[in-house]
């Protein structure tokens, strides 16, 4: 329900299929490339795509990775067997990818660790590096912005400061003349008209198909052709009901390095089955502080407060349930968290925060039933792990809900401290963390 990144292959395919429509057939993008996924039999690909063994190739991962060039993740000008071997090598073990580099090419961050699974193989397009340029379009509050730089490629550098910009107000589309005068000043005159026409069509494509971001780098521009060599994009996924058919098959994929754990995947599955919302991100499975918070806004604030009070290293998860999930779903959700948090012991014991603001109309006692069922089931592991539970919640029928929680504490012999709306929402965080244990 937001702007979501798509794979380069999906974006390229859409561009190849539809750009002609937005330019009266004047611009054609070739979709001569092959996607490789975790289940692709790479050796068998040439049967369907004979050009793979006839041409020189370019191979690169297709997993929303920025700075592929700097990370040495683009293999250029190789025959098929080299491409195949490279993919095999890259998928064998997880790797670290960096998001920022200094001038000398030294990484500036600790990087993201993850596994490469998806690749693109395309024919090498021989071109002069001076024909490479950069174009991007991004949605802003009062319209869209087109960014252009007459140099492109992996060494384009800080486009934010270098690129020329053209602001397009909501509901308008720039003419080729406007594009030329605002963006193409540095482009050789012989190429300008041709390129302006391409950008004009690309912008129509971008707006009409509800793109929120579209970047082509490099865009190879010669006197008689415009060839996008690399593409990154985000679509506004809420527009799926309107233009989903035009998009065709599009995968909203998680960025590199964030492949969900088994438990996270299970909660994602639950989330998909209900109209309610269930979210789980495990940040640090060895962390001491676990959260199970009602409401999207409140859940962020609980995680914030743990961080702000200086316990970021102890924060185990980000967890949220909202939209009135059924007792069964709440039970399964709570069970997953209890299971994760009781797998290992911590010398100081662990903390579970069952938090939430003042609900609008959700019956608090009802939503607690599923959680209570799970707590009862994990009675022994909770005792063994010296888990202390803090509850804070308000809203319809909250008194009954809090009473149930209080009684449960006595029943299962696990310390449960219970607070209502008169206690500031996040006070249980400081009570739990600063109260000493």
């Amino acid at each position: 329900m937001a702007q979501k990144a798509i794979r380069e292959a999906d974006g390229m395919r859409m561009l190849a299929r539809l750009l002609g429509e937005y330019s009266d057939g004047r611009y054609v993008v070739d979709d001569k490339f092959v996607s490789v996924g975790p289940d692709t039999n790479v050796a068998a690909l040439p049967e369907q795509h004979p050009w793979l063994v006839e041409e020189r190739l370019v191979v690169k991962p297709d997993q929303l990775i920025k700075r592929r060039g700097k990370n040495d993740l683009i293999l250029v000008d190789v025959p098929f067997d080299k491409a195949k071997a490279w993919i095999e090598a890259k998928t064998k073990a997880p790797i670290t990818i960096h998001g920022a580099f200094d001038e000398a090419g030294t990484p500036l961050d600790e990087g993201t660790f993850g596994r490469l699974t998806n690749f693109l193989i395309e024919p090498l397009v021989k071109h002069d590096p001076s024909d490479e340029c950069y174009v991007a379009m991004v949605s802003t509050r009062d319209g869209d912005e087109i960014l252009f730089h007459h140099r492109g490629g992996v060494d384009v550098g800080d486009v934010e400061s270098k690129a020329l910009r053209l602001h397009v107000p909501v509901g308008q589309a720039p003419s080729p003349q406007e594009i030329e005068s605002a963006l193409l000043r540095e482009v050789p005159p012989g190429k300008r008209a041709h390129l302006a026409g391409f950008i004009e069509a690309l912008f129509k494509f971008y707006v009409d198909l509800h793109y929120a971001f579209l970047e082509i780098n490099p865009l190879v521009v010669t006197k008689d052709a415009v060839i996008p060599l690399d593409l990154a994009a985000r679509l506004d996924s809420t527009a799926e009901f309107a233009v989903g058919k035009r998009w065709g098959k599009v995968e909203f994929t998680a960025p590199f390095g964030s492949s969900p754990t088994k438990e996270e995947a299970f909660i994602e599955e639950l989330d998909a089955k209900t109209g309610a919302s269930l979210k789980l991100t495990v940040i640090n499975p060895e962390g001491r502080v676990w959260t199970m918070v009602a409401g999207g806004g409140a859940s962020v604030i609980f995680a914030d407060t743990i961080t702000d009070l200086g316990f970021m290293d102890e924060l185990a998860n980000y967890g949220e349930y909202s939209g009135d999930p059924s007792e069964e779903f709440t039970y399964l959700y709570a069970r997953t968290i209890l299971d994760l948090m009781t797998r290992s012991k911590h010398p100081k014991g662990k903390i579970l925060l069952i938090g939430g603001g003042i609900a609008n109309f959700t019956d608090v006692a009802n939503t607690f039933k599923g959680i209570i069922r799970a707590l009862r089931e994990y009675k022994v592991p909770l005792q063994d792990g010296r888990v202390k539970i803090y509850v804070r919640r308000g809203g319809p029928n909250y008194r009954e809900g809090l009473r149930m929680m209080r009684e449960l504490g006595h029943e299962i012999g696990v310390p449960i401290e219970v607070y209502g709306p008169e206690t500031h929402m996040t006070k249980i965080v400081s009570m739990a963390l600063k109260g000493g244990m």
């Binding site: 509800h210 506004d236 390095g257 979210k279």
Partner: protein, 628 residues
């Protein structure tokens, strides 16, 4: 506005109504709204708020029900019930209610943009709240520009809306009425609040109520990347409202809306004290990019982090706590300073009108009771499964209870043994029809041929059932059991009836005789004598028949008599005498005949329809006209 020209002066404009609001106020105590889509609960909640706020008029003028038709809908306004008009078309509603200037748009994400567009074109509508989550960003951007051009305000999308304490409430804002009163939203305070999150607004209103003299107005702009109005838009409105003495704002990571506030603080466009916190400081704990609950809550650059925003706000002069934990305390400190400085003078609390609890809620909580208007003891459709008495419908089939079993459960509230349920089924089968010539079938046929429907035609036949047709089942059972119970010998019974000049019910047949027995009667007699534990009444009737057939050989026990009397035998075996008699008096036996014969009557109706029989007209020559 009306224009009046006074001699010697320029024409000057005067407010037509005394309620004219300044442009920075979206709502007042007279503001009325359209609710787009038939949101019964949200509408009632708005009206409940109106009542506790002491509004004279309901805040909902009409409901736009695009998939329904024009009409009226009933709601509570405090203790009394009122009618709120419903319109299919917004245009029509606007024409009928020219004073309405707010629309609360509950349309789904699919149609929210189109309906908001339509509302923007209605000149009188100045403020439109869009509740739906998932409106495409490009649609919202287009609507935002259009609203700005027209000088209108959009709230949302993806929001619960907002509330102006004691004046006007958008939809479901503020939660239950108890919460509204506890958070003091029924009367104005001095705090102007704005946040992205609608889900947290209850929490914030309560925090404000606990730490200050309460909320003046609170708006949740919604969690989208490009909301229709921004945090700053509302803060700038509050800046202009004299009654608002302090500002409270809750921002969020992602986007750049908070930097507009920083700029406004630096440019002194915001001068009132602003307590603000930006949530999402935890994002640094995540290794990869995280999309939190809201569409806009995603960090694209360092500047979009909560830490960077909080720092920038602090530098620009906002009162920023160290963590959300101190948010309430900062609000309190700021408020107390304003009280000390004499900027705010706390007001006495007004009396809160009590809203009667909803009946359904009171019942649920077990705090009221009321005698029921109806009682039913035979079936229950409320649970998981339909129940006939204490037997579930699946058990009826598992145990193969048959029609006789179902009838015994529903008529006699017990499951009769197999011999009895089988007998019930036999009785229904035997009474199902008796040809087209008998009065019931005849009437049904005539009615059917007059073009009447099934129910009318069958009823027409059914209405002939009574003392002369079909009624003998009942009559025979009563007459024979009474004589038997009085200890009359069969001979004495026959004699008594003869003396009284009364025909014995259940005795006699038009064509059948002792020599030409009615097979239906034989079947019943055979079954009863073979399977019934007690058949004393039927035995008695057979003795009576022996006497009557000596007088005339067609004075046999007929089928009505046999069924009725055998049924009385069965009931007496399975329940107390009193109960058995009660069922006969209540008409159970008559019911058995009606039930059986309805099968035949429907058959005749279907038969006539199938044969496309035309209107029946009785021939003149079959009627003796004797007018003299």
């Amino acid at each position: 506005m009306t224009t009046t020209a006074t001699p010697g002066q320029q024409p000057r404009t005067e407010p037509e109504s005394l309620h004219e609001k300044p442009p920075f106020e979206l709502f007042d105590k007279n503001t009325q709204a359209f609710v787009y889509n038939n949101q019964v609960n949200a509408t009632q909640r708005m009206l409940d708020f109106d009542y506790v706020s002491g509004r004279a008029t309901p805040s909902v003028a009409a409901i736009i029900h695009p998939t329904g038709s024009d009409g009226l809908s009933k709601f509570f306004f405090g203790r009394r019930e009122i009618l709120i008009p419903m319109y299919k078309r917004l245009e029509r509603a606007a024409a009928e209610h020219p004073d309405v200037d707010v629309m609360i748009n509950f349309a789904s994400f699919r149609s929210a943009a189109a309906s908001t567009d339509e509302a923007l074109d209605v000149p009188q509508l100045k403020t439109i709240a869009i509740i739906a989550e998932g409106v495409p960003e490009r649609d919202t951007k287009r609507l935002t520009i259009k609203a700005k051009r027209l000088g209108k305000v959009l709230i949302g999308p993806a929001t619960v809306g907002g509330i102006k304490a004691g004046c006007f409430k958008i939809g479901n804002t503020g939660g239950t009425i108890e919460n509204i009163v506890e958070s003091k939203l029924h009367r104005p305070g001095s705090v102007g609040f704005v946040s992205k999150s609608g889900g947290l607004s209850n929490e914030e209103y309560y925090t404000i109520a606990m730490n200050t003299d309460g909320l003046y107005e609170g708006i949740a702009i919604g969690g989208d990347m490009f909301p229709g109005s921004t945090l700053l838009d509302h803060l700038l409105r509050y800046e202009q409202i004299p009654e608002v003495k302090m500002l409270v704002c809750l921002g969020e990571l992602g986007g750049s809306g908070e930097y507009d506030i920083v700029e406004a603080l630096e440019q002194k466009r915001i001068t009132k004290p602003l307590v603000m916190w930006v949530t999402g400081t935890c994002s640094k704990a995540f290794k990869t990019e995280v999309q939190f609950g809201h569409a806009g809550a995603k960090v694209g650059s360092e500047a979009e982090t909560a830490d960077a925003k909080n720092a920038a706000l602090r530098r620009a002069g906002a009162i920023v706590p160290d963590s959300y934990d101190d948010y309430g305390e900062k609000i309190k400190e700021t408020y107390l300073e304003l009280v000390e400085a004499g900027v705010i003078t706390p007001q006495p609390e007004p009396e809160v009108p009590v809203i009667p609890m909803d009946y359904a809620k009171a019942v649920k909580e077990g705090i009221i009771r009321k005698p029921a208007s109806f009682i039913s003891t035979i079936s229950d459709d409320r649970g998981e499964e339909l129940m006939y008495g204490n037997v579930s419908i699946s058990e009826v089939f598992e145990r193969d209870l048959g029609l006789g079993g179902v009838l015994s459960l529903l008529w006699f509230k017990r499951l009769l043994p197999a011999y009895a349920t089988k007998f019930i089924e036999m009785a229904i089968m035997i009474t199902a029809d008796h040809g087209p010539a008998v009065s019931g079938a005849h009437n049904t046929i005539v009615a059917t041929r007059a073009g009447k429907d099934l129910v009318s035609s069958v009823v027409s036949g059914m209405l002939t059932i009574g003392p002369r047709f079909g009624g003998a089942v009942d009559g025979a059972a009563q007459m024979f059991s009474e004589a038997f119970d009085r200890g009359l010998s069969p001979q004495a019974f026959v004699d008594e009836m003869k003396r009284k000049g009364v025909n014995i019910q259940g005795i006699g047949h038009r064509v059948k005789s002792i020599h030409n027995p009615d097979m239906r009667v034989s079947i019943i007699k055979d079954y009863v004598f073979k399977h019934f534990g007690s058949s004393e009444l039927l035995g008695y009737a057979v003795e009576v028949e022996k006497i009557t057939t000596t007088k005339r050989n067609n004075l046999i026990l007929n089928v009505d008599g046999a069924i009725g009397i055998a049924f009385a035998d069965m009931l007496r075996s399975e329940m107390t005498r009193e109960e058995a008699d009660m069922y006969i008096q209540l008409g159970a036996l008559n019911g058995l005949f009606v039930l059986g014969r309805s099968i035949g009557l429907m058959g005749h109706h279907l038969d006539q329809k199938r044969l496309k029989q035309g209107l029946y007209r009785h021939p003149w020559d079959d009627i003796a006209y004797m007018l003299d």
